[in-house]
Symmetry: none
Subunit: 209 residues, 4 copies
């Protein structure tokens, strides 16, 4: 979860504390409104109303729509992305691709993820926030998967140190391909497609070494 606006003085102990219920209600309302109205239709006033909260309360915690949505998405990525060991690199890749595609097919994700990426191209702070809340979490999966494959002997062990360039590229390829398939081409990501992508990657990785 990304850090939101702190009470102005970082850790003062005085005054009425912020309501944790409000936080939860706002994020839930955000996801609900996203699913219902899409990014373009989402209104901070509406979110506040759904959450049973005043607009000011919302603005006290998040500087704007972008940051709020990033945090709302972050919660989803937090609970939905994991990488069970499926026995082989190919199966692991297929698994994560399917999981990620399923996440992208939620109505709140479909409409919002591209939108915050788009906003982020003009806003470094937002980019940073996305990186922390979403991207790094996904990258971790690549790292885990690669190490697991090395332990299994499917990939050669690192001599000395791991090559971050390789992990980064794999990450861009996996995430980018799935996002593009789902949100641009709007074609389904089924088991077969996921498996063929896994095959392509495993084959390509061999060529890379």
């Amino acid at each position: 979860m990304v850090r939101r606006m702190p009470p102005l003085s970082p850790s003062k102990r005085t005054g009425r504390p912020r309501s944790a219920d409000a936080d939860r209600a706002i994020l839930a309302a955000t996801r609900e409104a996203l699913a219902e109205l899409g990014w373009g239709g989402l209104t901070l006033g509406d979110v506040a109303a759904r959450a049973g909260v005043a607009k000011t309360t919302l603005y006290r915690r998040w500087p704007g729509k972008n940051e709020l949505v990033v945090d709302a998405l972050a919660a989803l990525f937090e609970e939905r992305l994991e990488l069970p060991d499926l026995g082989s690199l190919r199966a692991d890749v297929q698994g994560v691709v399917l999981r990620f595609a399923r996440l992208l097919n939620l109505p709140e994700t479909r409409t919002a993820l591209m939108a915050v990426f788009a906003e982020a191209t003009q806003d470094e702070a937002l980019r940073q926030r996305i990186r922390e809340a979403i991207v790094e979490r996904q990258k971790l999966l690549v790292l885990t998967g690669r190490q697991r494959a090395q332990k299994r002997g499917e990939l050669p062990p690192d001599d000395g140190e791991a090559d971050p360039r390789r992990d980064d590229m794999i990450f861009d390829v996996v995430a980018g391909s799935v996002v593009h398939r789902v949100l641009v081409s709007s074609e389904p990501v089924d088991e077969e497609w996921a498996d063929r992508l896994a095959l392509l990657l495993v084959g390509g990785l061999a060529a890379l070494s």
Copy 2:
């Protein structure tokens, strides 16, 4: 170029004809404003002002911001994407990746492409327009590149008919990876990265057959 709004009566010939200058000025102004202000800051009123044109004139030709921007981008994709024969599949892939990345790094593209994709997730007509104006053009490159490689003998010839699933996947992987690298990870796409992606793909393609 995507079809814009036709003059209401398709074949009436009377009255003052629409100015073609206005069209060009509007699209140029759109690109300029995109580069300067980004998608979020782009205003149709501002575009009209830059183009020296009344807002009405603009709305007579395009239904809204989304469609206008798609057309403005389409022109860029039209003139910037081509695939010279570089002698090998790997070089061809590297070439198209570099070209595409360069296109994505234009300020008007950076900010606008993701945004229209995002809008399109909620708007089938827009999705169709994007497909015609942008996506199909890119897909053609994959087709061309694959056929060239088959002619060279780098890939096995199709028995009977081509497999569109394979072309589609390659397209999603190439386009998705580059977009993600440039716009999400915001890391540079240099010759080395492009070559390594090409290597991965060529290696993977072998495994796929």
Copy 3:
């Protein structure tokens, strides 16, 4: 009537002209809302709604609540204040006092006049606007009444030129007394009170000469 915000370029002839209906509807709605809710309860959003007009239309014509209300009051002063010749100075004074008191007892005037005076103490432009729209109109009555009394021989003719100091003082005394009686003391201004004030003034004027 006070001049409102002019279309930015003073006398351009182009574009859709401002609706005169809107002007009338807005001023009427303002008076209605004032009477119903009082100055403090009056909301520009509410006025716009009553007038069947968008808030922006209202702000295009008046810079704010103060100026709008001054104009709305000005219309009342325009139509309600006149000075019929009642035959003697004393009767004329009594007449104008009664008329003025009746005007101040309208619910829209009661609540609004003091409020704009109060606002004006901090805002020279507003003060100027009030002077033009309201005060000068009242001062004119003093001038007329004095000249009439001189013609009748009730007051000595001016030797050479009129003394503006005398007119100004009479004006402050009449207007101030009535306003104070009605709005501060909140006692009624009936024929008897008005006559006694007239008597006081006529007697005092003799002493002043």
Copy 4:
């Protein structure tokens, strides 16, 4: 001084007593803020901050802005209005007019007095409060001045009982004229103007009898 909100249980003796310093600090801060920002710009939050006091403390003592300001003004009227015997009715009137005008020219009074009058037209309780805190104090001056003049023989003695109608009218005329001169006409009240007003009144009073 008007009574403010009492501690809820009227005669309980337990608990921490209210700080008298806070009272003084709040009223002083109110006057300061009034002088600086005017009625419209005065904010209870700002007053509390200037007084070094929490908003709650302020609301515990006064129900709102109106009442607070009335009390703040009342203190001024208490200390500033007195009527030294200047030897004649005319001089006494001139004296009180000058004193009153000087009071109205204080920045805190200029802006606030009209404003609370305006608020009071819609709020009987506030009107009552103003009467007690401000108006009655001024009326007393009229009473004193009249009695003094009667003692001197400048005015005929009351046969039996005093006529309150006469005192009330004089009060409305004096207070109203000065307020109007200073706050509406925004012309100076100098010795000459004050003397001419006194002359007018003394002359008029003779006519009234």
